[in-house]
Amino acid sequence: MSRLIDVENLTLQFDTDEGRITAVDNVSFSLEAGEVMGLVGESGSGKSVTAKSLMKLNPRNAVYGPDTKITLHLDDGPVDVMSLQNDREMKVVRGGAISLIFQEPMASFAPAISIGDQMVEQLLIHTSFSKTQAKELSIEMLDRVGISDPRTRFGQYAFELSGGMRQRAMIAMALSTKPKLLIADEPTTALDVTIQAQVIDLMKDLVSEFGMGIIFITHDLGVIAQTADKVAVMYLGRLVEQGTVRDVIRRPAHPYTRGLLAALPTLDDIDAPLTPIPGDIPSPLERPPGCVYNTRCQEVVGPRCALQVPEFFQVDADHSAACHIYDPEGSKA
């Protein structure tokens, strides 16, 4: 496997009327080609903003931290995403090397332009195909994602397709430019379970065929367990745990991850009580000092949890957590 993307010290703030809000705070991770990373967190944890930052797809009031470094490793050499200035330069990344699938497929297709025209348009922008070639490729892709009668569907509008079909069309469109990295932002959340299972299968097939990297954003740990190779858990803009999918789900190291798993209803033991995480997620305007999770944490080790931001500590070969529990120095204090 070869390295696909390196994200170092990603910090992103938004200027709002109520003050400057920190949405992403010093997040670092990397991804290999052909690898699926699950990015887990609740609403407001900053997972979508993090993913969109990889192609600088954020509103005008976004301010990146000075140490933020995002390197995309393409065939022609590395691209420093932060240095890309205008839309023309960004074309290499947006829709080129990186494609994005949104949660709500109804909202991500233009309602008055046919599915086919939208697929062709992006191919004409990002590739050197002729219009006819683009059309043929689009129809082939619709067929590949399991849409029956792709030629008819090509000329239809988003409202004529069911939810599952729209999401397939979205995937077909995102993959037709052969991206190196696919960002899937809650791609199955709006779908029924039986359709979700179909879409997950489809995405797995396509990864192994195209060999691209995927960042799979979801709040559903079950979906992560079924799709991802490794997992990163976010809370209030910070990464709190990273590791292989087996380690994180079987031996969660961060109290937040443990809390999430305890709150999750599963079919394995339907009599088990559901344990909520006490309290609510703090507003991003009132981020707690120290560890961002200290206000809800059940395993606070001492006053420094509320004072000092914990570093990442290695708990296993490919498994680390940002929690003072694992600080060998701190245990003496």
Partner: protein, 331 residues
């Protein structure tokens, strides 16, 4: 002998007229078709199905918020007995007090211009259940405390609250008129897991404390498994299986129930790809297939399934299933 049911659906159908052609009878959608169901008092009854299965319509019909085209819904709480199909204006008003709805989206369900106190008090004012402002305030405070809302916060507006707190406000509003029967329609679907568990625990606690009966509508089988005592599974407007929760999850009999269960992503990363996958999508209710409604996606469909619609039959104590082949497929 089991207690007298609180709510009974008798061969209930809800049809909606479609804007149709000029010639011939106006086409209609059979959103709910010939559903019979009994909900015992004190039960936490789960209703599951995919979008378009008619679960919301069934819930609304039980509140007389959807038109009853055929059949009836009976309500009997020991004080009053109503036939919802033939409910007079006065009785309907009284029924509204006894049966309430909790909505899905806590962000859309609360008026941003009303204080939390006014939101919770509104049903009392509308139904004229209290005689003075002081009495209303007492009721609001009492119910807010039960829903674990901070009584100090009653003068605030909803925007100041998180999703979980908003859902607690919606619950308080539904409970303030002292209902016996609550329809909770996807009431935790919009919440984060950590909050969802809290709201589910609250609903269960309130149910026990106030002796309520719930119809809990959800697409999430794992949530239903944890909170409900009985479950009914719907597909294209029909009931396909009903059973006590444990029976349904231990011995699902209908192929659709089995497929639904196996489609839930397992938390075990080594359990990948074992699920039996369902092909295709739920057909449009405007153009349902003949015979068994599930035959277009069922891996076990035979010729009989394509012509004859199966009726619900007993598959054990309180366990009913509508499938021609459930016995052969049982093991």
């Amino acid at each position: 002998m089991s207690p007298k049911p609180l709510v009974t659906a008798q061969n209930l159908s809800v049809h909606y007229a479609l804007r149709g052609g000029l010639i011939g009878p106006a086409p209609f959608v059979r959103a709910v078709e010939d559903v019979s169901l009994e909900i015992a008092p004190g039960s936490f009854f789960g209703l599951v199905g995919e979008s378009g299965s008619g679960k919301t319509t069934l819930g609304r019909a039980m509140l007389r918020a959807a038109p009853i085209s055929k059949g009836d819904v009976l309500f009997d709480d020991g004080e009053v007995a109503y036939s919802l199909k033939n409910l007079g204006k006065k009785d309907l008003k009284d029924y509204r007090k006894r049966a309430q709805l909790i909505f899905q989206d806590p962000y859309a369900a609360l008026s941003p211009r009303m204080t939390v106190r006014d939101i919770i008090a509104e049903p009392l004012d509308v139904m004229g259940l209290t005689n003075s402002r002081a009495e209303t305030d007492d009721r609001v405070r009492e119910i807010a405390a039960k829903c674990r809302l901070n009584v100090e916060h009653l003068r605030r507006f909803p925007h100041a609250f998180s999703g979980g707190q908003r859902q607690r406000i919606s619950i308080a509003r539904a409970l303030v008129s002292g209902p016996k029967f609550i329809v909770a329609d996807e009431s935790v679907a919009a919440l984060d897991v950590s909050i969802q568990a809290d709201v589910l625990n609250l609903l269960k606690a309130i149910q026990k404390e106030m002796g309520l009966t719930f119809l809990f509508i959800s697409h999430d089988l794992s949530v239903v498994a944890h909170v409900c005592d009985h479950v009914a599974v719907m597909y294209l407007g029909r009931l396909v299986e009903t059973a006590p929760t444990r029976t349904l999850f231990d011995r699902p009999r209908h192929p659709y129930t089995r497929a639904l269960l196996s489609a839930i992503p397992s938390l075990d990363p080594d359990d990948r790809g074992k699920a039996q996958k369902l092909e295709g999508e739920i057909p449009s209710p405007t153009n349902p297939p003949p015979g068994c409604k599930f035959q277009t996606r069922c891996p076990h469909a035979i010729d009989r399934c394509r012509v004859e619609e199966p009726a619900l039959e007993s598959a054990g104590t309180e366990h009913n299933v509508a499938c021609h082949r459930w016995q052969e497929l049982a093991d």
